[in-house]
Amino acid sequence: MRNDTMGIILTGDEKISPLTDIRANSALPVAGRYRIIDFVISNMANAGIVNVGIATESNYSSLMDHTRSGKPWDLDRKNSGLQILPPNLEKEKFGVIKGNIDLLAGIRDYIHRSTETYVILSLGNMVYNIDFAAVVKQHKAQQADITVVYKDVNGMEEADLSHYTLLDIDGEGCVTDIEVQPYYPKTTNASLEIFVMEKALLESIIDECSARGDVDFVKDAVIKKMDGMRIFGYKFDGHIYKVDSMKTYYQTNMQFLKEDRRKELFNRKRPIYTKTKDQSPTKYGADAKCTNSFISDGCVIEGTVINSILSRGVKVAKGAVVKDSIIMQNSVIEPDVEVSYVVFDKEVTITKGRKLIGQENYPLAISKGSVI
C-alpha cells in the first residue's frame, strides 16, 4: 500500500556568511560527505515516504544540483518522488518572504495536488536521525490535529532557552500552552519545528493565514487555534542540531568526533543517504599523522590532521598541520601550513608556509575558491 504521508521541507535563508553566499543554508556541507538536508530527506525516505517537496527561498540551484532526481534516497519515482519547489515569484505577494506561511502559500498547488492524507513539516537545516514512522503512528493513535516534535532540553542556560519555542505539556502529552522565544522560560520542552497534521488542515491554515496577511505558522495559526484543536507533543530523545550561525555550524560538525553521536546519527537501521561522487579511498602517506578526525574519501593526507572534519578530495601536504578545523571538498593545504579553528569552503588553497588561526567560538571562514 502506498504510504499515506508526504513530507515538506522548508529551507530558510539564515545567512552564514560567506558559506551561504553561494548556496542555500540547507545545502551546507556537513559531517564531511553530506549536506545538511540529507538528514531530513533520509529520515523521510526511511519512513517509507515517497512524496517529498522541498520549498526553497533563495540560492536553490545548490539544492537542485545536490538532490537531482532524488536517486540517492530512492525518491526518483514514477509518481511523485522528490521535488525541489522554487519560490513562486509570479504571485503578487511574493518578493519578500516574511514567514513560513508565505513559503507554504507559494507551494499551495503542489500540496493540493498531492494525494497523501498526512503531512510532515520540517526544516532543511537540522541534523538529526528520527523515526518519522513512529511520529506519524503516535499522531494517528492520539487522534491529534497537530503533533509537535519536541525535545526536553533540561539543563540548558536560560538565555539559550529563550531562543526556542517552548511547550507546556500535560500528563497525557497534550500541549496546553505555546510560547515563542519567551523572555522568562517556563518549561524546558523545546519545539523542534517539526509538525505532523492532516494535509487538509495544513491547506486550510495556509488559506486562512494568507487571506488575513498572517505569516507565521506557529504564532498566527497554531497558537490562535489552540483551544479548538488537539495538539500533542512527540518527545524526541535523540540529538538534534539546528545550523543557523557560524557557531552552530562549527559545533554541529564537531559532534561527529564523538562516538555516541556517530552511532546515533549514522545508525544501520536508518542510514543517511547522499549524492555519491565515486571518490577513491583516502590515502595516507609515510609521514601522515591523523588523530580524532572524520575523513571523507578521495583525500591525500601527508601531513598532520587533528580534531578535524575533512570533506572529499582534500589534500594535506607534508609538514602541514590542520587542527580543530572543517575543510571542504577539494581544498588544498600546501606544505608547512598551519591552520586551526578554520572553516574552508570548497576549493580553497592555502599556500606553502602560511598560518591561519581562528578561535573556538569564532572560527575563521574562508570563501569558496580563495587562494591564501
Partner: protein, 402 residues
C-alpha cells in the same frame, strides 16, 4: 531498429578457484578489490568511459551476489532506456537448456541478446582483470583496419610469457600466429582477453564452433586458432599501462599493494577515469585518538583506533586499540580486535580477528594444520565471516575457513 556500434559482453561466470576460500560463495568478479571496489567495477567503468552503453554480464558460478551488485547498472551510469547493463545467466530453452560450457559457448548462448541491439561489433571482456583501458580507441582502430577481430595485447616479461596466450605479429600488427602458453615464446605480446569482433564474423564462427563436438568452445583454444587458419584479418592492438590478472591470493594481494606505493603503480585517485562502484551510504571514516596510519588507504565507514601501515583497509572495518595491521588487505566489515597483530594477510569480508590474536606473525611450519596451497609467499587468508579466536596464533601461509 536500434543499431549499436558496439555491444560489450563481460565473461563473469568463472569461479576463480585459485582464490581459495575467497570465492567459495562469490564469483571472482565480485571479489572486493582496492578498498571500495569489486573486480567487475573495472571493465564496467572502462565501458562507460569508452562510450559503450550496452553491456551484457554473463554469470554462472555463485551469481547471486554479483547479480545483486550489478542490479540495474545505475552505479556505472548503465541504467539506460536504450541499452544499459544486463545480467545474463544460462537458461533453459526448448529441450536443450544447458550451462555455459566454455567462453565461446557462453557468448553463443546469448546471440539472441546481441541480436536485439543489432550490433556492428562486439567487445568481449573478462570480468577478472584490473586495468583502465579506453576500448573506444581500440574500436576506432578495429574499424579503421577493417579487421575481422582485434585482440588487445601487452608486452610481458619474457620470463612470464609462457604463462600467457602469445601473439606473433608482422610489422603491421597483423597477427600471424597464436600460441597458448608456449614453452619457447617467439614474442612477448600477451593476449589480455579483450577482443573486438565484427558481429557477423563472430556469429558465424560461434555457430560453426557449436556444431563441432570436438571443440572445447573456448575463444583461446578454438575460435582464435580457427579464424587464423581461415586467413581472417586479425589485428593486435597494443595496450600500455597497468594490467593485472588477480587470479591467485598472491596476485590479489600484490595488486592491492600496488595501489599504496608512492607513487602508486596503479592510481585510483584519477578524476579523469573514475572507477565507479555501488555505494552503501556509509559515513566518512573516523580516525581515533590512539590511531596511527601510514602508507595506507582507508575508506568510508571505518573506525580506526590502532596502528595501520602499508595496508588497504576496505569500508566499515574496525581496528581496535593497540592493534597493528601491516602489509595487509582488510576487506569490508572485518573487525580487528584490540591488541591483535595482522601481517601480510588478506582478511575476508566481515571476518573477526580476536583480541591479541597474531595473524601472519609466526613463521611457516610444515605441521601447521592451516597450511594451504592457495597461500603462497607466507600470505595468510582468512575467509569472509571466519573468526580467529582471542589470543590465537595463526602462522604465515595459513588459510582460515569460516
Amino acid at each position: 531498429m536500434v543499431s549499436k556500434k558496439c555491444v560489450a559482453m563481460i565473461l563473469a561466470g568463472g569461479q576463480g578457484s585459485r582464490l581459495g576460500a575467497l570465492t567459495k560463495n562469490v564469483a571472482k568478479p565480485a571479489v572486493p578489490f582496492g578498498g571500495k571496489y569489486r573486480i567487475i567495477d573495472f571493465p564496467l567503468s572502462n565501458c562507460v568511459h569508452s562510450g559503450i552503453d550496452t553491456v551484457g554480464v554473463l554469470t554462472q558460478y555463485q551469481p547471486l551476489e554479483l547479480n545483486t551488485y550489478i542490479g540495474n547498472g545505475n552505479p556505472w551510469d548503465l541504467d539506460r532506456s536504450m541499452g544499459g547493463a544486463y545480467v545474463l545467466p544460462p537458461y533453459q530453452s526448448g529441450a536443450s537448456g544447458e550451462w555455459y560450457k566454455g567462453t565461446a559457448n557462453a557468448i553463443y548462448q546469448n546471440i539472441g541478446f546481441m541480436e536485439g541491439f543489432n550490433p556492428e561489433n562486439v567487445l568481449i571482456l573478462s570480468g577478472d582483470h584490473i586495468y583502465k583501458m579506453h576500448y573506444g580507441k581500440m574500436l576506432e582502430e578495429h574499424i579503421a583496419q577493417d579487421a575481422a577481430v582485434t585482440i588487445a595485447v601487452m608486452p610481458v616479461d619474457w620470463e612470464e610469457a609462457k604463462r600467457f596466450g602469445i601473439m606473433n605479429t608482422d610489422e603491421n600488427g597483423i597477427i600471424t600466429e597464436f600460441e597458448e602458453k608456449p614453452q619457447n615464446p617467439k614474442s612477448n605480446l600477451a593476449s589480455m582477453g579483450v577482443y573486438i569482433f565484427k558481429y557477423d564474423v563472430l556469429k558465424k564462427y560461434l555457430t560453426d564452433d557449436e556444431r563441432d563436438p570436438e571443440s572445447a568452445n573456448d575463444f583461446g583454444k578454438n575460435i582464435i586458432p580457427k579464424m587464423l587458419a581461415d586467413g581472417e584479418k586479425m589485428v593486435a592492438y597494443s595496450f600500455e599501462g597497468y594490467w593485472k590478472d588477480v587470479g591467485t591470493i598472491q596476485s590479489l594481494w600484490e595488486a592491492n599493494m600496488d595501489l599504496i606505493d608512492d607513487p602508486p603503480k596503479f592510481d585510483l585517485n584519477d578524476r579523469k577515469w573514475v572507477i565507479y562502484s555501488r555505494n552503501y551510504a556509509l559515513m566518512p571514516h573516523y580516525i581515533g585518538e590512539t590511531a596511527k596510519i601510514t602508507n595506507s588507504t582507508v575508506t568510508e565507514g571505518c573506525e580506526i583506533d590502532g596502528e595501520v601501515d602499508h595496508s588497504v583497509i576496505f569500508s566499515a572495518v574496525k581496528i581496535g586499540k593497540g592493534a597493528i595491521v601491516k602489509d595487509s588487505v582488510i576487506m569490508p566489515g572485518a573487525v580487528i580486535g584490540d591488541g591483535a597483530v595482522v601481517e601480510k594477510a588478506v582478511i575476508g569480508v566481515e571476518a573477526t580477528i580476536g583480541k591479541n590474536a597474531k595473524v601472519g606473525v609466526s613463521p611457516e611450519s610444515a605441521d601447521n594444520k592451516y597450511n594451504s596451497d592457495y597461500c603462497t609467499h607466507g600470505i595468510v587468508l582468512v575467509e569472509g565471516n571466519a573468526t580467529v579466536a582471542d589470543g590465537e596464533d595463526i602462522p604465515k601461509g595459513s588459510m582460515i575457513q569460516a
